[in-house]
Amino acid sequence: MSSIYSEIILDYYRYPRNKGTLPHAQIHARDTNPLCGDVIEMQLEVDEKNTVKDVKFNGQGCAISQASASMLTELVKGKTVDNVRKISKEDVLSLIGGQLTAVRLKCALLSLKVLKTGVYNYIGSTDATKEELSGL
């Protein structure tokens, strides 16, 4: 069995890309994983065409939660908000690679949950989006 702790994950954990804060972010959300105490905060700055100009994350926790958040920021930069909302679980998991147990899945998907929470607050949430978030 191959380890989920690939060189890529460890590299993003040690040297996180896009870590920090954006004072003028229009999209902003934060959440924790009560089981592990992982914390992730996401901030996005969008232009008038609703394209993500800049994105930062902040947080603390295990390597999986922090590396996935950093990888996710790279994925959303330059995308329209509409395309950001289409990012799926599978997209994030394929960035991470490897097999995760159910508990660790929560670590891996925390950043996506935070990102989507922020986006839905920005564009308006519906019952469908609420359901999607509770499934993450």
Binding site: I4, Y5, L10, C36, G37, C62, A63, I64, T101
Partner: protein, 393 residues
């Protein structure tokens, strides 16, 4: 087999594996004499009742209670604590009075008292910890001497640090001030001889599943005179003497506290688990755990970057070791160990106040029991070393 490797189960502080004798007894009960207890006049009901009451008697002998009537079947330690808080506590703890706890308690020995304190306007007072995970005796004395406290509630053995608390001494001091004492024995009864009369505790609780028994069954011990004064916790069948439309009278303990159909199979299974442990001998189990824990403490302590929490001398603690490696998060550590077939616990271990005191968000915890071997400890240590290489600690 886990991930192609034999399982090394080092999480018995969470729950223990079950011997085939216990599993077989559960099957035998369900296939051969499954019936409700204390009700039927037919043969298998009598058989079930006898086995259920025999389990109670075994528990009484195990902890040297004065009588089986001092043994109440509950779901586990958590329910036992809630029972005492809501029955004894509501009757005996009043406005402005104190409940003394320690900073190393499991959430289950904190939250029920917080609920009671809110209901009654009582105060919680905490005994602090030294840096190496012992109780600060001076804090305890001060809380007692200030007066106004009705109850001391403390764990016998810490589920995080493995610290064995000097409960006997604390109980003696508490009694001098007229305080009752509740002992959370979830981590001690499975691992060492415990004698409630020698300890002189007023209440004591433990869980069957941590001592090779089934889940959903546990024990509350309390002194007879105290039980007799306590009102019921749950109302229902089996716990009543007479029921009228607007009022009922209660049976004597222990039945007063066993409303409805209880976990009969669980109790019988626990009785079998006690047979199993008694045959091995609790003293032998304690020595075995201690030897392994000492070995683990020494070997882990040699790994560069490992910090072990709690008492520095493994001889003063039980078979539970919490550690961290450099800045590797405990969940990453546990996942890496899992890749090597090693099951440990990571997180706050239901003891967030203790984590705050240690200044960490989580630790990795390895705990041992009767079936563990030195070989498994070697594998643990090797795997922790591998984690160090992966994370370049």
């Amino acid at each position: 087999m886990i991930n192609g490797k034999p399982l090394a189960y080092l999480d018995s502080a969470a729950t223990a594996q079950k011997p085939v004798e216990v599993i077989d007894e559960l099957t035998r009960f369900y296939t051969e004499y499954n019936a409700n207890v204390h009700r039927g006049v037919y043969k298998i009901s009598e058989e079930a009742t006898a086995a259920y009451e025999e389990a109670r008697a075994k528990i009484a002998r195990l902890i040297n209670a004065n009588s089986p009537t001092e043994i109440i079947f509950v779901r586990g330690t958590t329910e036992a604590i809630n029972l005492v808080a809501q029955s004894w506590g509501r009757m005996n703890v009043g406005l402005g009075e104190g409940i003394i706890l320690t900073e190393m308690e499991h959430h289950s020995n904190i939250v029920p008292w917080q609920l009671l304190a809110k209901q009654k306007g009582a105060h919680l007072k905490y005994v602090g910890l030294t840096d190496d995970g012992h109780l600060v005796h001076e804090d305890f004395r001060q809380h007692l001497e200030l007066g106004g406290s009705k109850l001391v509630t403390m764990t016998h053995v810490s589920n995080v640090l493995g610290t064995i608390n000097p409960v006997r001494e604390y109980i003696r001091e508490a009694h001098k001030q007229g305080c009752r004492v509740f002992v959370d024995a979830a981590q001690s009864v499975p691992h060492m001889p415990v004698d409630v009369q020698d300890m002189d505790c007023d209440f004591l609780a433990f869980s069957g599943h941590k001592m090779c028994g089934p889940t959903g069954i546990g024990v509350l011990y309390a002194k007879k005179a105290i039980l007799e004064e306590m009102p019921p916790y749950h109302g229902g069948g089996e716990m009543i003497r007479e029921v009228h439309l607007y009022e009922s009278t209660w049976r004597d303990p222990p039945y007063r506290f066993e409303a409805g159909t209880t976990n009969i199979a669980g109790a019988i299974g626990l009785g079998k688990a006690i047979d199993y442990l008694s045959e091995l001998g609790l003293r032998n189990i304690q020595l075995h755990d201690q030897e392994l824990a000492e070995y683990m403490h020494d070997m882990l302590g040699k790994v560069r970057g490992v910090k072990i929490y709690g008492p520095a001398n493994p001889r003063t603690k039980a078979g539970v070791i919490s550690f961290n490696l450099g800045d590797v998060h405990a969940h990453d550590m546990a996942s890496l160990l899992d890749e090597d077939g090693i099951a440990v616990r990571s997180g706050h271990h239901c003891a967030q106040p203790l984590m705050d005191r240690l200044g960490v968000s989580s630790t990795t915890r390895a705990s041992v029991y009767i079936y563990n071997t030195e070989d498994e400890i070697d594998r643990l240590v090797e795997s922790v070393e591998r984690a160090g290489r992966v994370f370049k600690v």
